[in-house]
Amino acid sequence: MAAGTLEQPFAPPDAGAARRASSRVEAVYAEYFRYVWRCLRALGVHPHLLDDAAHDVFVVVQQKLGAFDDGVPVTTWLYAITLRVARRARANARRDAWRYARTDDEHGASPADEAQARGNVEQELECEEQLELARRALDRLDEDKREAFVLSQVEQRSAPEIADITGVPLNTVYSRIRAAKLAFQSEVSRLNLVNRGKTHER
């Protein structure tokens, strides 16, 4: 399903259809909430806006479910909604940047503190550090590359599916994915070097 169909006006269904739609929303939520949340977070939605964004995604799902084309995979449809909600949330965060000023501990407790709380497991500490570094590297990518990287590498969508989700030509998707991988790699390498330099300074 192309992204443009999401903008069609919503027609309220009858009572029986509403019950069926509600149960379908429930099923979609139960199966895909975790991936929607992960995708929103990877797409750069501010942690303070994550609840609102996830809520908005499923409100749109409920509204558009009546017009949903069963021939299209639900994941494609869902990621298309998630992508647009994430764009709006990022725009809101940019508009209210003074309110959501980025700090080092914006994701809650630092990875070191969280790992300490779990019994100082070295492996978990390493995972948390990697996650924090990956988030920082994603923050350095521009929006197009970030979306392409998240959908292809994190959510593991195929290039044609990403083309459907984003409404971008397939060749452009391929080139964006390739560029996004390179950019992410270079950012991770750079941040690694910076972290090592800080560690040696201490």
């Binding site: 429930e26 939520y29 809520h55 990697q130 990956a134 593991q156």
Partner: protein
């Protein structure tokens, strides 16, 4: 590192899934918005727990709420009405007993229990104490010992008898008008004032002193004093020049 499936950073991003708290929080919001049906998941945190209790109270049927409020109103109003309508001597113990027997829920919620003497003091009317006794007690605490001893000593008796009420009336009563003396006073004052008009300070002063000597408590004492002030003022002016 090449961004492939073996990339630990990409795997870390892939494993960044929400916890059950996150899912329950969003689910409760969606249920509130009518997007999802069914019961809200167990609330997280104490604030949410308090909200849950409130929601349960709100969700009670109207009949149950009305019944509960009637019971509470009855507990409060019946003893008070009986206290107001019956003689005070017979109803006071009833009121005290009713207030003492609190419902179990209220007894648990009470922050600090009131002792029996305090409750009796609050409920039963007490006779008003004599204010003199209280003031005397306060004065005893705050007055220095020397003053306290002086206060105990007997008051000195007056050496001369105090003037009676009749003598006060005599002093305060206006004098009967004596036309002869008034005329003489007026003549002296006219002479003094006409001398002042001519700036003859010496003649004016002599006339005023004469008036003061002859009529120290006369009818024109105030006029004499004003004229005397003017005379002194003119004398000062003449000395200055």
């Amino acid at each position: 590192m090449n961004g492939s499936d073996d990339d630990p950073f990409t795997r870390a991003l892939r494993g960044d899934l929400p916890g059950p708290d996150d899912e329950a929080r969003v689910r409760s919001r969606l249920v509130s918005a009518g997007v999802l049906a069914g019961a809200v998941a167990a609330p997280v945190g104490t604030a949410a727990a308090a909200g849950g209790v409130t929601a349960k109270v709100v969700a009670l049927p109207l009949a149950v709420k009305l019944g509960a409020s009637l019971v509470v109103v009855g507990l409060v109003t019946v003893p008070v009405v009986s206290h107001l309508t019956s003689p005070s001597g017979s109803s006071a113990p009833t009121l005290t007993a009713t207030l003492t027997a609190k419902p179990p829920a209220l007894a648990k919620a009470a922050p600090a229990p009131v002792t029996a003497p305090e409750r009796a003091a609050l409920v039963e009317p007490t006779p008003r104490a004599e204010p003199v006794v209280e003031v005397a007690a306060v004065a005893h605490e705050t007055t220095p010992p020397a003053l306290r001893e002086a206060a105990k000593a007997p008051l000195p008796q007056p050496t001369k008898p105090l003037p009676s009420v009749a003598s006060f009336e005599e002093v305060a009563a206006p004098k009967p008008l004596d036309e002869g003396s008034l005329r003489a006073e007026t003549a002296l004052m006219e002479r003094a004032l006409s001398a002042l008009k001519r700036d003859d300070v010496a003649t004016a002063r002599a006339a005023l002193l004469e008036h003061a000597r002859l009529f120290p408590n006369g009818h024109l004492v105030r006029e004499r004093e004003r004229a005397l002030e003017r005379t002194l003022g003119k004398e000062t002016e003449s000395h200055a020049h």
